[in-house]
């Protein structure tokens, strides 16, 4: 039998690599996911262009270059997305706003995710009163509509990028905690966890080495989807004037500024709004595709 296995298995057979290959195959099959993923790659490239090191060499205008005579210009060959009420080029500002949007999305989901995962796995693993206390706190957080919760936190802490990230992170925690708790509950009952205990493994080791890797798929999917809602919440806060303050080229803040001119010059709010929609959509679609690819039940 061993001989057969050896001949059937190439020398450099690596199951981990095979897994990622399979994941990639599954992901590629889903056209929408490929489009979503492509957009995300594009967003990242745009963010790189929007840095102060590359931007000035590639883009004609500076994001904060005021040009009053040319204010509220409609889209044209000179100003692809038109200009705002100070004559600043909207296209340039959107490019520069991209990295801020992604930065807020990624960091707040990372922070919220880490805390949420820890809370969830601890609640699910230990159960009992630990579970009750953690999950009731999460329920309280979930009882508030997301934007309202973030609004409350920002108004307590004061409006700045940092505080906005904190607010959006806190708002992401319960979603992660719930999903991870559920998966932990099912993994905890499996026999290999008992087997590990019987081998003398500590709780910390079991949680981080044996439970977390097995609940990773839902975490990854949730994180992708959460980036979309984090972006939406962050722009919402800035639009309400509680997050990033003008003149920073943040899309929500740009829409807030353009709000007064939307009757005469709708392009001022249309383009930032459109970008928010595209980013949210791309992450959601990609997350959907990722979920299908990671879920073994969906495989045909």
């Amino acid at each position: 039998m061993s001989k057969q296995v050896e001949t059937a298995t190439p020398a450099k057979y690596n199951p981990k690599l095979e897994y990622y290959k399979e994941l990639w195959r599954q992901l590629r099959k889903n056209k929408a996911a490929v489009v979503g993923g492509g957009f995300i790659v594009l967003f990242i490239l745009i963010s790189i262009i929007g840095t102060p090191w590359i931007g000035p060499h590639v883009l004609t205008y500076a994001p904060d270059a005021v040009d009053i005579p040319n204010k509220l210009q409609p889209p044209s060959a000179d100003h692809w997305f038109g200009t705002d009420n100070y004559g600043r080029d909207i296209f340039t500002r959107i490019i520069y706003g991209m990295k801020l949007t992604l930065f807020i999305g990624f960091t707040s989901v990372a922070i919220g995710g880490i805390f949420g995962v820890i809370f969830g796995v601890v609640a699910g693993y230990f159960g009992g009163w630990v579970d009750t206390i953690i999950m009731r706190i999460m329920d309280v957080l979930l009882a508030f509509p997301g934007i309202l919760l973030a609004l409350a936190i920002v108004s307590v802490l004061g409006g700045s990028i940092q505080n906005m990230i904190i607010a959006v992170s806190i708002y992401s925690v319960p979603a992660f905690a719930r999903i991870v708790r559920g998966s932990t509950l099912s993994v905890r009952k499996l026999e290999y966890i008992d087997a590990m205990k019987a081998l003398g493994a500590s709780h910390t080791r079991i949680i981080f080495k044996h439970i977390l890797p097995n609940v990773m798929s839902p975490i990854i999917v949730q994180a992708t989807m959460r980036i979309a809602s984090a972006v939406l919440t962050a722009s919402g806060l800035s639009f309400l004037g509680l997050g990033v303050k003008p003149p920073t080229p943040e899309w929500g803040a740009m829409m807030n500024e353009g709000r007064n001119f939307m009757r005469e010059s709708p392009h001022v709010i249309m383009f930032p709004g459109m970008m928010i929609v595209i980013v949210v959509l791309a992450f959601n679609i990609f997350g959907d595709g990722l979920r299908d690819a990671l879920d073994p039940k969906m495989k045909k």
């Binding site: 039998m1 061993s2 296995v5 050896e6 298995t9 199951p15 230990f126 159960g127 009992g128 499996l190 026999e191 290999y192 008992d194 087997a195 590990m196 205990k197 019987a198 081998l199 003398g200 493994a201 500590s202 080495k209 044996h210 890797p213 097995n214």
Partner: protein, 341 residues
């Protein structure tokens, strides 16, 4: 019987549920002799698995050892701290489980999982542990262990996985191995292989085995001593030969009688009538009395003790005591037994 390495003394384990306390193990006493195998048999829910989990203190969070002692080389495991217990588990006492399909973590290679105990208990380096894992896989009879060590559990068959589980349990040369129905989930030919393997390894390493099973055939094959459990108590404890030759407790007789036999022509199997009593509604007297064909008044009124008889076996039955108040000669599933007094 050689010097016991592990003594379980009057162990009582309870679970606390919404319906109140459930006494899953109620006063269990047995010795595990060094280098020999003791079988614990019983129906589902008789407390045999809970007994083994109590020894390693791996009970679910609502379970608690309420009394008794578990003496391992003179030290009481019940009194040890959780941290001290972690050094016992997988090291001096280890355990293999029933379900090889789910007893391995699907996201790590088998080599990694075997190494884990070695790194923790034997303070080996990763490289040493990897090399030792290959040796262990070879020891448990896995072909081409050098390639298998990097396999993931899903690439192995059920029998192979159970071998890996055994390799994991043996990694740190345990003195006691608890095997909780290790062959139940395997098909018969693989069962025989695994049992033979365990026997061989026992002779080589000299460990004691606590073998938990509901399969009397497996007991006859592997064990030196047998404890028969019923409703959380040991009802009969004897060496394996006398248990099969001349069982004493009505429950044991019933169990043996319900097995298919190939030496006589049988049309139907004869089961023990009735069910195991509900944990919430234990009979006041002998727990087997409601199902026992010979039960008399004293059986229903008072709980018998586990008493040593002259042949060295321990029996929990009024029939073999001076207080017996029923017929002198009783018929138990076609076998005659004479009352003691």
């Amino acid at each position: 019987m050689s010097e016991p390495i592990l003594r379980v003394n009057n162990l009582r384990t309870s679970f606390f549920t919404d319906d109140g306390e459930v006494k899953a193990v109620d006063g269990v006493t047995f010795d595990v002799p060094k280098g020999e195998t003791i079988g614990i048999v019983g129906e589902s829910g008789s407390g045999k698995s809970i007994t083994s989990l109590s020894i390693l203190r791996l009970l679910a969070s609502n379970g608690k050892i309420m009394g008794g002692e578990i003496l391992f080389k003179g030290e009481d495991l019940v009194k040890k701290s959780e941290k001290e217990m972690r050094n016992v588990r997988g090291n001096a006492i280890s355990m293999i489980f029933q379900e090889p399909m789910t007893s391995l973590n699907p996201v790590f290679t088998v080599g990694y999982q075997i190494s884990e105990a070695l790194i923790k208990h034997k303070k080996m380096s990763k490289k040493q542990a990897h090399a030792r894992s290959i040796e262990l896989l070879e020891l448990v009879g896995i072909p081409s262990p050098e390639t298998r060590v990097d396999n993931y559990p899903h690439e192995l068959s059920g029998g192979m996985r159970q071998r890996v589980m055994i390799a994991m349990a043996l990694a740190c040369d345990p003195e006691v191995l608890i095997a909780d129905e290790p062959t139940t989930a395997l098909d018969v030919t693989i069962q025989a292989q695994i049992l033979t393997l365990m026997k061989q390894l026992q002779e080589r390493i000299g460990m004691s085995i606590i073998f938990i099973t509901h399969d009397l055939g497996v007991v006859a094959e592997t064990c030196d001593y047998v404890a028969v459990m019923y409703a959380g108590q040991i009802v009969e404890y004897s060496d394996v030969v006398s248990l099969f030759k001349k069982p004493s407790h009505p429950y044991t007789i019933g169990l043996l009688n319900s097995l298919p036999r190939h030496d006589i022509d049988q049309d139907e199997l004869e089961p023990i009538l009735g069910n195991v009593p509900s944990v919430h509604d234990m009979p006041t007297g002998c727990r087997f009395a409601p199902r026992c064909p010979a039960a008399s008044d004293i059986c229903r009124a008072k709980m018998p003790e586990l008493v040593k008889r002259e042949n060295g076996n321990d029996i929990r039955c009024w029939l073999y005591t001076d207080e017996w108040d029923g017929e002198k000669e009783v018929d138990l599933y076609g076998q005659k037994r004479i009352a003691q007094s």
